[in-house]
Symmetry: C2
Subunit: 471 residues, 2 copies
């Protein structure tokens, strides 16, 4: 038996093997034959689904960029309410919350000497402005954030600190952790050293001149330093200019921003009511960065989960559990909708059986990951078997469930994640290139099929995913 399992393991990752080795309990969870037929039917229908594309085309065309807290995000909420109502969702509502507001105004950069030419930048979310006319400073380059962290605290006063760290292209997005560290770390490390301004090589994998943006936070007790990202080609150019200059390279960076102390945002919520008050919570985030039209981040997630829930709603009879779809507000600027929801719904989190967000683009799902109690892991195999025909393999049990699910996960809500192929996600993510034409309609349908199947199983399969002592 053990030998057989080991042989089978050769085709899995070492992490995947954890499942292969898990012994099937006497009373292994299973779908009824009727439920299995329904899962297959949902997958068949998902693979022909047009609704997700229709929603995504509508959102990106009729609303476009929708920065958290902006008037465009408010229009997107109205759009979400109208769509959910038209699709027959119940209890459709907006749960509002307050938030601070930041938006870019103008931004530009140029090599002043010795080789004058323009550089393409995007200010990072929450960056302070430069003085009017910008700041001109000598560039000091660091290959990685680590090099900057290791640098002395003296000797960089008034300089431009340039962190030239390249982001890794990966299928699972695992290169993003270091990229985020760079995004938040560079300005803080620069501030600690009295630098005038900071630039980072884009936290993106594209060779386009389309620098990414993304949120950063200043630590307390520092004097904030303005920060922007250079596109990869522009980071190459600055790096080459430094190598060829044989002396100082001076760059001017000009950033202006608008901020407000308090504006309104909100989560849009709709439901397919179930036979019980238990909840399967799914969704994507409605806000986007301002540069693109938010197609892959995260119009796709909104569209996929809404379309999947709608497919389940079209089955005869109510689902066993309520399927709650949330179009999260203000995710990009600090998971603000997620925090507001976790707070407002603290009393009913015990009724949240499973939660998951689709927020990693519009690529095909390639892996099913879980965040279940160990003793409930055999249930993961029910999902994995059902999803196998979609080319989705088993993944580990350390899933976070998606950004907006993080506060729920921390509060003990079990999660799953349908992991999308993100090999080209960071070519688009947080840049002006995040537009509808980058989405593959066939991949979008595969997502809808996977979500419809997984959410249906989550609704119908008996038992929960929490450790016994938490039940």
């Amino acid at each position: 038996m053990k030998i057989l399992v080991t042989a089978a393991c050769a085709v899995f990752t070492s992490i995947g093997c954890a499942y292969a080795q898990a012994p099937e309990p006497a009373s292994a969870p299973a779908l009824t034959q009727e439920q299995q037929r329904t899962v297959d039917r949902l997958i068949d229908e998902g693979l022909e689904d047009d609704l997700a594309w229709e929603l995504l085309e509508s959102l990106t065309t009729e609303i476009g960029p929708r920065l958290g807290g902006s008037p465009a995000e408010a229009r997107a909420r109205d759009w979400g309410v109208a769509k959910l109502k038209a699709l027959g969702f119940k209890n459709v509502r907006i749960e509002t919350f307050e938030m601070p507001y930041w938006e870019r105004d103008e931004e530009s950069a140029r090599i002043v000497s010795p080789f004058p030419q323009e550089l393409k930048i995007s200010a990072l979310g929450n960056s302070v402005a430069t003085p009017e006319g910008g700041v001109t400073a000598e560039v000091v380059r660091f290959r990685t954030l680590l090099d900057l962290q290791d640098a002395p605290l003296e000797g960089f006063e008034g300089k431009l600190i340039f962190v030239d760290e390249v982001m890794a292209r990966t299928q699972d997005g695992s290169g993003y952790g270091w990229a985020v560290a760079k995004r938040s770390g560079a300005a803080n490390e620069a501030a600690r050293r009295g630098a005038a301004v900071a630039l980072i090589r884009s936290a993106g994998t594209s060779h386009g001149r389309t620098p990414h943006t993304g949120n950063m936070r200043y630590e307390e007790d520092i004097t904030p330093v303005p920060i922007a990202a250079l596109s990869n080609p522009d980071a190459d150019l600055l790096s080459l200019a430094m190598r060829r200059a044989g002396g100082p390279v001076n760059v001017n960076v000009n950033i202006s921003v608008n901020t407000k102390t308090v504006v309104e945002s909100g989560n849009v919520i709709g439901e397919i009511p179930g036979k019980t008050d238990e909840i399967i919570l799914i969704g994507g985030h409605l806000d986007s960065w301002d540069l693109g039209t938010g197609a892959v981040d995260d119009g796709a997630g909104v569209a996929i989960t809404t379309a999947a829930a709608k497919l389940i709603d079209e089955l005869r009879g109510k689902p066993a559990r309520t399927i709650r779809v949330i179009m999260w507000g203000a995710e990009e600027v600090g998971l603000l909708g997620a925090q507001a929801y976790a707070q407002a719904h603290a009393d009913e989190l015990h009724r949240h059986v499973l939660a998951s967000e689709s927020d990693f683009g519009a690529g095909r799902v390639w892996q099913f990951r879980t965040g279940f109690a160990e003793e409930d892991l055999p249930k993961a195999q029910v999902y994995q078997k059902a999803l196998r025909r979609l080319g989705i393999g088993p993944g580990h049990n350390m899933a976070g469930g998606g950004p907006d699910v993080t506060p729920l996960r921390r509060a003990g809500v079990p999660v799953f994640r349908l992991y999308q192929d993100g090999s080209d996600y960071f070519d688009l993510h947080h840049t002006m290139e995040d537009t509808l034409d980058k989405v593959d309609p066939a991949a979008l349908r595969q997502n809808v099929a996977a979500w419809a199947a997984a959410v249906y199983i989550a609704s119908e399969l008996e038992g929960d995913y929490r450790a016994s002592d938490a039940e």
Copy 2:
């Protein structure tokens, strides 16, 4: 014999077969064994050449964008003179000429109603400005320029005319002819109909939000209409907005430009003097559009031809004919350097044995095309045989020789062209994406090898390429 030739033809295009069928004359032109060895050596050395990359990196980093007639183009001329002198070229000089000047200032566009959002545009070269604050007009869409040409002259007063014609992706750039027709035709057709402004779908094949620019000319006796290109994703968006609006779509376009009546430009010239006063003229154009750093258009052509000539200069002994390298000025804005040269050198054009320009990017050469007198076509086979090891096949005899060679060709100078693979050229050409990182160093070396071989043969092979009655 005929049957054998026909069988061989199966692997060529019908055009290529013209050569396979050409009978070898009794005194077929040929290289000596020594010359053949030199050709092979030049190819070997070209395939290891670092000079072209060094020149291209230097030009794009230290000068960057260099619009015809601009101060940056003047700096590029000084750069060219310094490089040619440092490389040992003789008779290095700038031949100046005067030209009118146009540059973009600001440009923006947005859908005003019913779905407000930004559109990415680039004004076309020579466009007039809009009134301050821009012009807002209802969009009328035409699928192609032909549809617009067929439309009545009434009914479009004050409208925004949008020509949504898609450009074909081709290896040989044959999609560009219609794209240029659209670029020049759209504003003139719009003006004839009293439209307020015109937009075209980018004359480019990229899915990036990086609209192309390029020159256009207003016809006489019309009131010029401002014109810009929309990136492909933005043209998609505008088209979708019109389909979803169910009513008028209004767009604001705002363009400001600066113009001057007379500025100076020039051609940079250097030579490898030969044993005779006959000239083989090669080069690329030094000016670029303003949006990118002019790496593929046409820093690559400047770098390739300079490096190839330098390789020949390193052989022992003078070449038979003089190799004249020209870094052409102000090509993009109307072949102004080419016209100035043809005029200034009218008296010595009979001594120009062959001319050619490298100006189609930095992709691998895949075909050798000629513009020879029919009776000199057997000589083409000498080149083709030598280039075969580089993966270069035979092409037709209708080559133009390259944009800046056009006036020489018209004056009777024979030409050849080393045709580069342009499959992705129009993803970059005339956009901000025309930067160094898009160039493949190995492909650049293959170009240098092909040019060194072809130019050496052009210098050494006896006889010329003109019809007998022209000799």
